[in-house]
C-alpha cells in the first residue's frame, strides 16, 4: 500500500514536471506568446468593451456623419449610417469571441458525449449515431451551415445554432475513435473486472486520456469557427446591422469598397488578427502537447 502510494506520488511529481516543462516550452515560443497576447487583448475588449465606449453606438444613426474618413474624432472613420467604426469594432469583439468560443465549446461537449456513448456502447446505437455523422459529413461545412441558418431565419442565435450543428460531428467522430482505442487497452478491461460500472469506467478512465487531443482540436477550431461565422454574416446570414458583429460590418461596408475602404479593412484586419491569435495559440499548444512534434 505504501509502496503504491509512493509510486503514484512519484508519477504525480513527474507529471507535474512534464506539465511545467510543457508550460516552459509554450511560453518560450515567441509566436505563441504573441498569439496569447492577441487573444488576451480581444478577450479584454469583449468583457470591458461596453464600459470603454457607449454601448448604444450601434443605434446611434446619424446620416449627416456618414462615410467620414478616419480622423481624430473618428479614428476608424464612420459607416454609411454615420456610426463610429472604432466603437463598433470594439463592441463587436463580444459577438465574435462569444460565438466562436461558444460554438466550439458546445459542439465539443455534444460531440464528446455522442462519440463517447457511441464508441462505448457500440452496436445499434453506434451504428445510428455514426450514420448520422456520415450524412452530415456529406455536406461541405459552410454550405450546410448556410442552409440551416437560411431555414431557421437570420439572427445571431440561429447563426450560432447552425454552426454547432455543423461542427459537433468532427468531435463525435474523433471522440469515438479515441474511446475505441482506449477501450482496447488493458486497464479498462482490468477496471471492468474490478466490478466498476460501465458509466464510471467510461468517465473515470477513458475521458481523461482522450481529453488532451480534444483540447488541441478545439483550440485549433476556434479561429476557423470565427472565420465561418464572419463569412456567413458577410453573405447576409448574420445578425442585424444593429449588432456590430465584424462580418456584418464588412457586409455593410462592401458596397462602399472604392469610396470608403476603411469600412472593410478595419473590421477585416480585426477578424484576421483575432483568428490569427487563436491559431497561433492552437498551433503552439499542439506542438507542445503532441510529443511526436516535440524536438
Amino acid at each position: 500500500m505504501t509502496s503504491t502510494n509512493r509510486n503514484s506520488s512519484r508519477t504525480g511529481s513527474l507529471k507535474y514536471k512534464e506539465f511545467r516543462y510543457s508550460l516552459h516550452l509554450l511560453f518560450s515560443n515567441k509566436l505563441v506568446v504573441f498569439g496569447m497576447c492577441i487573444v488576451l487583448f480581444f478577450s479584454t475588449l469583449a468583457i470591458i468593451g461596453p464600459l470603454l465606449v457607449d454601448p448604444n453606438e450601434p443605434m446611434n444613426v446619424n446620416f449627416k456623419n456618414d462615410l467620414l474618413p478616419p480622423s481624430w474624432e473618428h479614428p476608424f472613420g464612420t459607416d454609411d449610417l454615420g456610426r463610429d467604426v472604432f466603437k463598433l469594432v470594439i463592441l463587436g469583439a463580444r459577438y465574435d469571441l462569444s460565438i466562436s468560443l461558444l460554438v466550439v465549446a458546445i459542439a465539443a461537449i455534444v460531440g464528446i458525449f455522442v462519440g463517447a456513448v457511441s464508441g462505448y456502447v457500440g452496436g445499434k446505437v453506434d451504428e445510428l449515431f455514426m450514420r448520422i455523422v456520415d450524412i452530415l459529413f456529406a455536406f461541405p461545412g459552410l454550405i450546410l451551415a448556410m442552409a440551416i441558418s437560411m431555414v431557421l431565419g437570420r439572427s445571431f442565435l440561429n447563426l450560432f445554432l447552425s454552426l454547432v450543428l455543423v461542427w459537433w460531428t468532427s468531435y463525435a467522430r474523433f471522440m469515438r475513435g479515441q474511446v475505441l482505442a482506449e477501450r482496447e487497452k488493458l486497464y479498462v478491461k482490468a477496471s471492468k473486472s474490478l466490478g466498476l460500472s460501465n458509466f464510471r469506467t467510461l468517465f473515470r478512465h477513458v475521458l481523461p486520456n482522450a481529453v488532451f487531443p480534444m483540447i488541441i482540436l478545439a483550440t485549433m477550431d476556434i479561429g476557423s469557427v470565427m472565420l465561418s461565422a464572419a463569412g456567413l454574416s458577410f453573405i447576409g446570414l448574420g445578425p442585424s446591422p444593429f449588432e456590430p458583429e465584424w462580418g456584418t460590418l464588412v457586409n455593410r461596408g462592401a458596397p462602399y469598397l472604392f469610396m470608403a475602404p476603411w469600412l472593410i479593412s478595419i473590421p477585416g484586419v480585426t477578424i484576421l488578427l483575432a483568428s490569427l491569435g487563436f491559431n497561433l495559440m492552437g498551433d503552439g499548444i499542439r506542438d507542445v502537447l503532441d510529443p511526436r512534434l516535440r524536438r
Binding site: L31, A138, M146, V151, L276
Partner: protein, 343 residues
C-alpha cells in the same frame, strides 16, 4: 480483396449517404419551409395551385411526400428559381459550370503552391524558409476570405488602375462585347475550356483575367491548409525508419526525398484535396458574390438576399452529391496508392 470490390462496396455506402442527404434536404424544403414556393410564381393562376399541390403530393402524409420528393429529384422536376428567372435545373445547368471552372483553377493554384511550400518547409525544418512558410500558411488559414477578396479587388482593379498600372476586370466572367465579337459554343459550359478547345484564345485570355482574382481568393485559405498538411506529413515521413535505411543504403538525397518520401507523404495530402474541393464549393458563395462572378455561388448569394431558399437547397443537393462522389474517388485513389490499406 480486390480494389474493384472495395470500390463497389464504397459505392453502396455512397448510395446510402445520398439517401440520407435527400432526407435532410427533404426536411428543409418540404417540411420546414413552404413546399409550394418552388412551384408557384407571381404569374401562377390561383386555380392552378390545387393541381400543383396534388401533382407533388403536398397534401399526402410526410413519408409519402418523401418518395414524391425523390421522384421529383430524379425526374429533374425541381421547380422554379426566382432569382435565376428560370427552372432550377436550367439554372444549375447555366451557372454551375462557371463555379466548377473557378473551383478547378483554385484547386490547381492550391496544389501548385501548397505542396511545394509544405515540402520546402519540412526539408528546411526550423530554418528561415520553414518559419516564413509557417507564418504565411498561418496567415492563410486566419484570413477572412471576404476581406481578402475585397482587398484584392480594391488593389488590382481600382488602385493599380488609378496609378496607371495594368489592371484586372473587377466583376463578371467575360467581357460581353468581346464575347459577341468572338462567340463561343457552349460545349461544357466552362467558358475558358470551351473557348480554348475552339481555338478562341481571345476569350480564353479574357475569361482567365476575370477568373484569376476570384481563384486566388478561393485558393488562399486552402493553400494555408495544404501547406501545413504537407509539411507535417513530410516531417512525419522523413523521420521514418525506411528513410534512415534508404540513407544508410546510399541512395542519393534527391531520390530519397522526391521519390521515396514524397509518395508516402502525398497519401494523406490527396485525401485532403477531396475535402478542400468541398470547402471550395461552399467558399464559392462568398468569393463569387464579391466578384459578381455568375456561378452557382453568386446565384446562391442572390438567393440569400432575396430569400429564395429553393435555389439554395438545390445547390446544396448538387454540392452534397458531388462532394460525396469526389470523396469516394479520393478514397479509391488512396487505396490504390497505399498497398497496405485494409479494404
Amino acid at each position: 480483396m480486390k480494389i474493384y470490390e472495395y470500390a463497389i462496396r464504397r459505392i453502396f455506402l455512397l448510395i446510402f449517404v445520398i439517401f440520407g442527404v435527400t432526407i435532410i434536404t427533404f426536411i428543409f424544403t418540404r417540411v420546414l419551409l413552404n413546399p409550394l414556393a418552388a412551384y408557384i410564381t407571381d404569374k401562377t393562376p390561383p386555380d392552378a395551385v390545387i393541381a400543383i399541390i396534388q401533382a407533388h403530393g403536398f397534401d399526402r402524409p410526410i413519408y409519402e411526400q418523401y418518395f414524391i420528393y425523390l421522384k421529383d429529384l430524379v425526374t429533374l422536376d425541381w421547380g422554379w428559381s426566382n432569382v435565376g428567372h428560370m427552372a432550377l435545373t436550367d439554372a444549375i445547368r447555366t451557372f454551375f459550370p462557371a463555379t466548377v471552372e473557378l473551383t478547378i483553377l483554385a484547386i490547381i493554384i492550391t496544389v501548385l503552391i501548397g505542396v511545394p511550400l509544405g515540402i520546402i518547409s519540412a526539408l528546411k525544418n526550423n530554418k528561415w524558409q520553414d518559419h516564413a512558410s509557417r507564418i504565411f500558411s498561418l496567415v492563410g488559414i486566419s484570413i477572412p476570405v471576404f476581406w481578402l477578396g475585397l482587398s484584392l479587388q480594391y488593389a488590382f482593379t481600382y488602385w493599380t488602375r488609378s496609378i496607371g498600372l495594368p489592371f484586372l476586370p473587377s466583376t463578371g466572367r467575360v467581357d460581353p462585347l468581346l464575347l459577341i465579337q468572338n462567340p463561343v459554343q457552349g460545349w461544357t459550359g466552362m467558358l475558358m475550356l470551351d473557348s480554348f478547345l475552339q481555338g478562341n484564345f481571345v476569350i480564353t485570355l479574357d475569361v482567365f483575367k476575370h477568373l484569376i482574382l476570384p481563384a486566388i481568393t478561393l485558393a488562399f485559405l486552402n493553400v494555408g491548409i495544404l501547406t501545413r498538411l504537407t509539411r507535417s506529413s513530410m516531417l512525419e515521413v522523413i523521420r521514418q525508419d525506411y528513410i534512415t535505411m534508404a540513407k544508410a543504403y546510399g541512395l542519393p538525397r534527391r531520390v530519397i526525398i522526391y521519390k521515396y518520401a514524397l509518395k508516402n507523404a502525398m497519401i494523406p495530402v490527396i485525401t485532403s484535396v477531396g475535402l478542400i474541393f468541398g470547402g471550395m464549393l461552399g467558399g464559392a458563395i462568398i468569393t463569387e458574390s464579391i466578384f459578381s462572378y455568375p456561378g452557382m455561388g453568386w446565384l446562391s448569394y442572390r438567393a440569400i438576399v432575396f430569400n429564395d431558399s429553393n435555389t439554395i437547397l438545390a445547390y446544396v443537393v448538387v454540392v452534397a452529391i458531388i462532394f460525396v462522389s469526389v470523396n469516394l474517388l479520393v478514397d479509391i485513389i488512396y487505396a490504390w496508392l497505399d498497398p497496405r490499406i485494409k479494404y
